[in-house]
Subunit: 145 residues, 2 copies
């Protein structure tokens, strides 16, 4: 485990963090590639991993009590995936599946929580980024209403 | 300005914070009542204030490039209002208007940012709460698709 700090530096959610914090994040990150069809995680599962999509497309599948899983969103390019597992009850809110070959950075959430306890600035920065992503999704829905 | 700490303690987004932090929040909070029809803030405006809706109903009005403002959501009971202004670019993403008489706690965002710099745990806790609220809104939309 561990990736080069230059990979971490590029991600928008870490912009503005000091080198020691970027270095600490790189130490708990792992670079992985997946084939199309691979399921990153399933709706309702306890979240163990946070993903930073570096390259490729991921579809977001959502199942309600009355419907089968269906696509409600798609994520492309550099973005956070699985961020619902960062906050209580620490579960994934949808199933996310690779549509293409994808390259991700994986971070174990337990290691991340320990890091945030040591450096709260990392948590503030990441959660601020998650809030921005979620507002973008909400705006997307509002435009459709 | 300043409200009783017992009011702050009740709000779910501050659950688990220590007394010194709750006290610091109460010092920068102000209790205000508004009449039906009062506009708390307008879409696109720079955010100066964060609101904790204590009692009453607020409607969320959204205007796209192609439509007039129309209701896309309603907020009732104890909830955060105006949280988009907590993160860059620090603007409100919708217009929010009182539907009934409402009671709110108001916090100046600049004072809140200074407080979070001193006590990052307050920021982490509040952001975590905002993320949960936004996921609830997204799930609401997903159920409608």
């Amino acid at each position: 485990m561990a990736v080069d700090i230059s990979l971490i530096k590029k991600l928008s959610c870490f912009q503005g963090l000091t080198k020691d914090k970027l270095d600490a994040i790189s130490q708990i990150s792992n670079s992985v590639c997946y084939l199309p069809g691979h399921i990153l995680f399933e709706q309702g599962q306890k979240g163990k991993t946070l993903y930073f999509l570096i390259d490729g497309d991921v579809e977001v599948l959502f199942k309600s009590a009355y419907t089968d899983p269906r696509r409600v969103d798609m994520i492309s390019g550099a973005e956070l995936v699985g961020c619902s597992a960062m906050v209580p009850p620490y579960t994934y809110k949808a199933t996310e599946q690779c549509l293409t070959e994808v390259e991700v950075l994986e971070i174990e959430l337990e290691a991340l929580r320990n890091l945030i306890e040591k450096y709260p600035q990392i948590g503030l920065k990441m959660q601020e980024h998650v809030i921005k992503i979620l507002y973008d999704r909400i705006l997307h829905f509002r435009h459709q209403i």
